[in-house]
């Protein structure tokens, strides 16, 4: 007997009591997308033939990295006890950079599946989202995935999950996204346990935007959850945060392709198309209402996206600057959190100072620019936003080290984060040592189970954005997981370190660091540059300086010999080709004063990985 719905409830006329909305909270590689695929199949929304692995993750990068950047919502029919229900599965982003988007997705649900890899246990990121879900009063259904793996320890992790959410370990569901085992039972559990949405059908319409994506053919596609009233095609709607009005050109549900409907009623989840071309006109967290006799009060929880990490993006070929601008504009259509402004660097030329939600957001943006728009880019070391107060009381915000004020500084405040690290207890010492070296303050420590520990730290964001995560992983053999969220500011003893080539400051290498780390940064960068910059016809001193005080120096000796001593008949073609190549290579050199610096030197010096040092 197939449990698939016989007569699926029709959108716009579904009784809210037949609706169930849920999301899946899971760590990156714990199999969320595979399980979602299985549910699409089990409910008959996708036939096995149509199945594309990880159907919901559309972008190539998402599929390659196995992570979800943008969420989507799928409506699935499910029959149980003779009644046909409609389940809304809202796929949430799985990374720390997108906490706000996660919070909005959660706000669109009544329940959440807490999905944990039965071979790995819960991770810090999952824990953070679980707290978020509990804060939103969602019903949590704990699920262990990948029970087919030989390394699975379902007993152990069921115990851990049970303890965590105060549930009997026997109630923890066991599924395999790979084989499909347990998926039907899970769907039944969703219907049984997750509450139906509650809303007032008679009131002015209010729907919350939980995602907004740009589609080349359709313009912006906005995903909403209707809370009160209903939305109908051709209706004029209003975005309450901006007051902007649009006509509803199309309204529908995803199942799993977009299907236009006669509208969306209380508790329903679907999409809107208004013809706008820019996701910033349809912001996540905003409330949609009717333009005429609409609601007067917004649904709570809307926040402007706030960039936390800043980096300069420069085209390697200066003539790509307009192309980079176009590409950023296109990405912004789909990414309301991406902000940028033009930046000019003496060393790197024209580019853009970009603000990101976090490091992954930066990496993904950069990768998309390079891959989808075929741009070769240099990105400067990630920086954070500092509030600087000068002696004369002037206050400035510095997101770019090269804008660091020259005058007497009274105070600098830097953004702080509260970080949670989960790891096997054997690594506690190593983690504490690392956090200590990153100026962390221990907030608390708890044992999740006998051998797993949660450590809470307050850390400067600037320390996190460099290589904290890589170091954490390497010191814990990859077992530690990290979550963090912004938490205020703190005054700190910070200085700007400049790098000088032949006395000329190279703005791209300036960095704001803690006073105690300025020296090691200076020595490290001067050493790196000495290895990366080829010898010139003259001697090139490299200095690291705080203001006018030199803290480190290196010297590139003048090149004395650059000539092929033998050039007879058989050497000529080869020699010419070599010189042609070298001449061509000069085009890609950036001039710092008289010093020719190859692009690769900038790229290597700015790359955060420390492999350059290891090679020495």
């Amino acid at each position: 007997m197939s449990p698939q719905a016989v007569v699926p409830p029709v959108p716009a006329s579904t009784d809210p009591s037949l609706l169930r909305s849920f999301c899946i909270i899971a760590h990156i590689d714990h199999g969320k997308s595979t399980l979602a695929d299985r549910m699409l199949q089990a409910t008959g929304v996708v036939t096995p033939r149509e199945m594309k692995a990880q159907y919901l993750d559309r972008m190539d990068i998402e599929r390659e990295r196995g992570i979800t950047i943008k969420s989507q919502a799928v409506r699935m029919p499910w029959g149980m006890g003779g009644t046909d229900y409609a389940l809304n599965m809202i796929d949430t982003p799985g990374h720390v950079d997108f906490t706000y988007e996660v919070s909005r997705s959660l706000a669109a649900c009544e329940g959440a599946l807490l999905l944990v890899d039965a071979a790995q246990g819960i991770e810090a990121q999952t824990l953070a989202n679980l707290y978020l879900a509990m804060e939103n009063d969602l019903t949590i259904i704990p699920v262990l995935n990948k029970i087919d793996l030989p390394a699975a320890q379902p007993e152990k992790y069921a115990e851990e999950l049970g303890n965590l959410i105060g549930e009997d370990p026997d109630r923890v569901l066991r599924v395999s996204g790979k084989t499909g085992e347990g998926v039907e039972a899970l769907l039944d559990r969703i219907v049984e346990e997750i509450p139906a949405p509650v809303g007032n059908a008679g009131e002015a319409s209010r729907a919350m935007i939980f995602d907004s994506v740009f589609d080349t053919y359709r313009g912006v596609v906005t995903y909403v959850r209707v809370v009160d009233g209903d939305l109908k095609p051709r209706e004029r709607i209003k975005m309450m945060s901006t007051g902007a009005e649009h006509e509803l050109l199309e309204i529908g549900v995803i199942s799993p392709e977009p299907k236009p409907t006669k509208g969306l009623g209380v508790g329903e989840v679907g999409y809107l198309i208004t013809g706008v071309k820019d996701v910033r006109q349809s912001r996540v967290g905003d409330t949609v209402t009717a333009a005429h006799k609409g609601a007067t009060e917004e649904l709570g929880g809307y926040e402007d996206p706030k960039p936390m990490v800043f980096s300069g993006l420069f085209p390697i070929d200066g003539s790509d600057y307009p192309a980079l601008r176009d590409a950023l504009e296109k990405l912004q259509l789909n990414d309301a959190a991406l902000v940028w402004e033009p930046e000019t660097s003496a060393a790197l030329g024209f580019g853009f100072r970009c603000g990101f939600l976090g490091l992954l957001h930066l990496e993904i943006t950069r990768e998309r620019l390079e891959r989808e728009f075929d741009l070769a880019l240099i990105s400067t070391a990630p920086s954070v936003s500092y509030d600087v107060t000068l002696e004369d009381g002037t206050e400035t915000v510095v997101t770019n080290p090269s804008e660091f004020p020259e005058g007497k500084i009274k105070e600098i405040r830097e953004p702080m984060v509260s970080a949670t690290v989960l790891a096997p207890s054997e690594f506690v010492g190593a983690i504490m040592e690392l956090c200590q070296s990153k100026r962390g303050q221990l907030g608390g420590m708890d044992y999740l189970s006998e051998d797993r520990v949660e450590l809470r730290y307050r850390l400067p964001l600037a320390e996190i954005v460099l290589d904290f995560f890589d170091q954490l992983k390497s010191r814990t053999k990859g077992y530690a997981s990290l979550d963090w969220k912004a938490e205020g500011q703190e005054a700190a003893d910070l200085v700007k370190v400049d790098l000088l080539l032949q006395g000329e400051r190279v703005d791209a290498f300036s960095a704001i660091t803690h006073k105690d780390k300025a020296y090691s940064y200076g020595v490290m960068m001067a050493g790196k540059l000495k290895d990366l910059i080829p010898r010139q016809q003259f001697e090139v001193p490299i200095q690291a300086a705080i203001g006018s005080r030199i803290i480190a120096r290196e010297n590139i000796r003048a090149m004395r010999k650059d000539v092929l001593s033998k050039c007879y008949g058989g050497d000529i073609s080869r020699k010419r080709k070599l010189l042609e190549k070298q001449k061509e290579g000069k085009k890609r050199m950036k001039m710092v004063g008289r010093v020719e610096v190859p692009q690769e030197a900038f790229v290597a010096a700015l790359s955060s990985d420390s492999s350059g040092e290891k090679k020495k």
Binding site: R560, K561, S565, K566, C567, G569, G570, I572, S573, R576
Partner: protein, 416 residues
Amino acid sequence: MPALRDGEPAPADGLLPPSAVAGAAERQFSLYVHVPFCSVRCGYCDFNTYTALELGQDVSQEAYHRDAEQEIRFADSVLRATGAPRRALSTVFFGGGTPTRLAAADLVSVLTTARETFGITTTAEVTTEANPDSVTLEDLQTLSDGGFTRVSFGMQSAVPHVLETLDRTHDPRNVGPVVQWAKQAGLSVSVDLIYGTPGESVADWEQSLQEAISYEPEHISAYSLIVEDGTKMAAAMRRGEIPMIDPDDQAEKYERADALLGQAGYQWYEISNWSRAAQGRTAAQNRSAHNLAYWHNQDWWGIGPGAHSHVGGVRWWNRKHPVPYTNAVRDGISPAAGRESLDAGTQLFERIMLETRTVDGLPISVLQESERHEVAGLVAEGLIEGRAAIAGQVVLTLKGRLLGDAVVRRLVPQLS
């Protein structure tokens, strides 16, 4: 040297485009004969050379001169068919490998065939390279009698431990006597030296220079050791068994060479070559006319496996291995493996690259407008001679010779 992989395929008949022979009467014509045999392969050597006497399919050191002569006749037929004017040879050069692995009579036989095929000018320079250990006075006399005018000995170093690092088997004490024999036989003499070998001190290098000078050859070449990929020495360096080449050490030794040779009356005329007035000839007359033909973009035909040729802006190179080379020659088809036709921009590029190497230099007038403005800067930086620049020539200073490639990169046009 590594084979050039790109380039166009060469036609089987070897025929050249008519453009290659246009104006040929104005250019000198030279012959290079490659002898791809050695008794041992030196650790630093990446030349096209073989130590086996028999390479199979009747290809051998013994038979080689007949195949070389066959290609000489083939060259003549190609040039005739392409419509080239008949030009007597201005220079002939036998290089290797070790040409003196062939019997002196075989070398003479090849030269005789070349003379009979193309003719040779009365003042022609005819050189062979020679290993100091493998020639006798009789050999040298045979060569001189057969029309050779010049011999170039691969001395490399006077210091046994340096020779050992280079895998050179000759006894350094033999160089003095063979130079005297060559002079006795009426040959003009050049001595080749190598500097910058790992483990060679500056004092070692000065000793080599002093000894070479003491033999009073008309001509001395001094090359920095180049460690090419794929050689035994490169592998030993990678394994850390011998130290890496230090370009600063080589620069210092070049400066020492220029100073000591200058004091002994030798004048530099190309990056790595010096000559002196002797035997009633001026220093300029004792320069290597054959090598100058390369640097002045004259025409030459390279005979033998892997040999390169240039005729009127067309360059080609023969198959490297003696067996396929020989098969092609015996079948009467071109042994070329590939070739390239240089456009005007590339020809200018090469002219700048080659002529700046020489003491006569490069006329500033041939530079393109955009590169001509570099000249003042090069004078200011001490890389080219100010006096010569005012007279319209780019001539490298001592410092400029050591940075010759940097100068060339600034003067050549940007190729599209």
